[in-house]
Every structure is written in C-alpha cells, then in structure tokens.
Amino acid sequence: MKNLSLFAVVAACALATSSFAQAPIEVRLKNHRFTPNVIKVKANQPSMIMLFNDDDTADEFDSSSLKIEKVVAGHNKGAIRVRALAPGKYPFMGEYHAATAQGMVIAE
C-alpha cells in the first residue's frame, strides 16, 4: 500500500514535470473575444494555457467542465492549468462578457 502510494506520488510528480516541459498555449482576449477560440490539446495529458487579456477590464476564464475559474485583470496575463482531459469538447467563456467571449477546448 505504502509502495503504491509512493509510486502514485512519483508518477504524479513525473506527470507534473512533463506538463511544465511543454510550452503554454497562448490565447489572447481582445474586444472580449478569445483568439484562438478553439484550443486543441492532447487527450489524457495536462496542458497550460497562458491567457493574455488585452482588454482594459478584467474577465474571468470560466468553465465548469474544465473546473476552472480564473480572473485575469485587464492588460495582464494568467496561467491556466488544464488537467489531463478525456477526449471531448470542453466549452469555456469569459464570464463577464459571456455574449462574445466564448471558446472551446478540444481534447483529442
């Protein structure tokens, strides 16, 4: 049991390091729209989105399916960790401007 949990920790650390080894995916928010608004990631592998908010005001990267709520202030950036995802589509939005700020992560 102890060995198993130790293995789990080591495996998790290895996974964590591998996720940092990858360059973050750059996404920009301008005029309350995401570019790109479709983000492709590899399934079953954690990834990182670097969100640059080019607007004057803050917005919140919000996705219940990704389990992420992250406020990014105006003219600022935010690192968003995306957990390892099963293949599928995961919509997200800028909660404060949901009419235009819509996007989707596709894991494949």
Binding site: A8, V9, A12, C13, L15, A16, D56, T57, A58, D59, E60, S64, S65, K67, I68, K70, V71, V72, A73, G74, N76, G78, A79, I80, R81, R83, A84, A86, E95, Y96, H97, A98, A99
Partner: protein, 281 residues
Amino acid sequence: MISALIIVFREVIEAGLIVGIVLAATAGVPHRSRAVTFGVGAGVLGACVVAAFAGELAGLFQGSGQELFNATILLLAVSMLTWHNVWMASHGREMARELKAAGHKVKTGERTLLALSVVVGVAVLREGSEVVLFLYGIAAQGGTSASGMVVGGGLGLLAGAAVSALMYFGLLTIPAGKLFQVTSGLITLLAAGMAAQAVIFLQNGGWLEYFTATVWDTSWLIKEDSITGRLLHTLVGYSQAPNGAQLIAYAATILLIVILMRMVPQGGQTRPQSAPKAHNA
C-alpha cells in the same frame, strides 16, 4: 441590463443562501444580526480590495496567487463551520432548554458568532469580488449601458436577496427542536462542498496533482451551469464530474465533523463558569 441582472442575481444567491443558513442556525442567539452584518460588511469591503488588486493577487506564487487565496479562505470557512457545529453539538441541548425557559437569556452560541461572521464574510468576499469586477467592467465601457447596469444590478440584488430570505424563513418553519439538526446537517454539507472546492483551487494552482481523474459524470442529469446545478453546488457542493481528490475531501470533511460532534461532551462541560448554572436548574 439583463446580463447585469443575471450575474448579480447569481452571485447574490450563492452568498445569500449561506447567509440564510447561518441566520437560521443562530436563531435565538443574541447579537447575531450584529455579527452577520459585520460579516457582510467586511465581505463587501474585502471584495472591493480583492477586485482592485486582482492583477497583483494573480501574480503571486508563480501566477497561482488567486488559487492559493481562494483555497485558503475556503478552508478557513470550512474550519469555522466545523467549529460551529462541534460547539453547537456540545451546547445544543443546553440551548434548547434555555430557549424553552421563557425570558431566560441564551448565552451559549454567542461564542461561535465570530466563526459564523467569518463564514459570511468569506462567502460575500468570494461572490462579491466577481460582482465588483463585472460591474466595473461595464462601467468602464461607459455611456449608454451604465444606467442599465445600475437597474439590472439593483434588480439582481433584490431578487437574490428575496430567494435568500425565502431560504431563511423556510428554515424557520421547522420546529425549534428539529431546526438544530437540520441546520447542523446543512452546515456539514456546506463545509464539505467548500472543502471540495478548495481542492479544485489547489489542483488548478498546481499543488495537488494526484487523484485528478474524473470518477463519475452526471452532467447529462444536472449541468453545473444551470440554476439547479448552481444552487446544489452552493448548498451541498454538487459537482457534475467530481475527481478523486474532490470526493476524498468531501467525504473526509463530513466524517471529521460527524466524529467531532459525537466525541465532544454534551451540555457544555468544557466551560467551568457554566457549572453553577447547572445547579440552579
């Protein structure tokens, strides 16, 4: 205007339900409205500060300052809710007895008012900072939408407060003897849900990397984004696709609170001052 109404309503409900439960849990305790008002006031003030320094906060801890902050205040609320429940389990019977004796001043329960005002403060702070950032964003765009924002925001606030009041008065219709059990149960689930939410923030901040696989998915039944989903999320910590760590935190919190509530001596024997009173009775 509609977007302001919806977002304010949503956030006010999420904080308001917690305030409603706290108010019902402290029914009959003197000075409780002062404690709750203090909690709400501190929460609003804190929300403005958090909103104003959102950029600076996010920049801390290699970009994970926001996640750490959220996890910390949630866990603070969890410990305060736990303390309240354990204290009430110890003093609940004494309190019920004193409540029945007409004119008898209820002293117990005042002690955990501070804990509950912290909980109220945390709830208002979390939801409030989102409202402030959102409304500020609309205001900054200026001009035509500003008046609509005030109307929408005001209506959202009223509607949210009305639903919260409904929750409170609904709970008060429960007979006094049962009310304690119901509010204890609600507070336990509230704490468990907050603990699970704190785990998500720790995961998103990169501090908790194991048991992240989804255990089950009920998004086909209730979407977390729907009104029902949001209410259940606030009240009992509903998650449409919980992962292992979330479930462990949820179950562990319930287990911890139940065990602590069973373990404490009943009747408030922890305070020597209350002993003479027992002789009088």
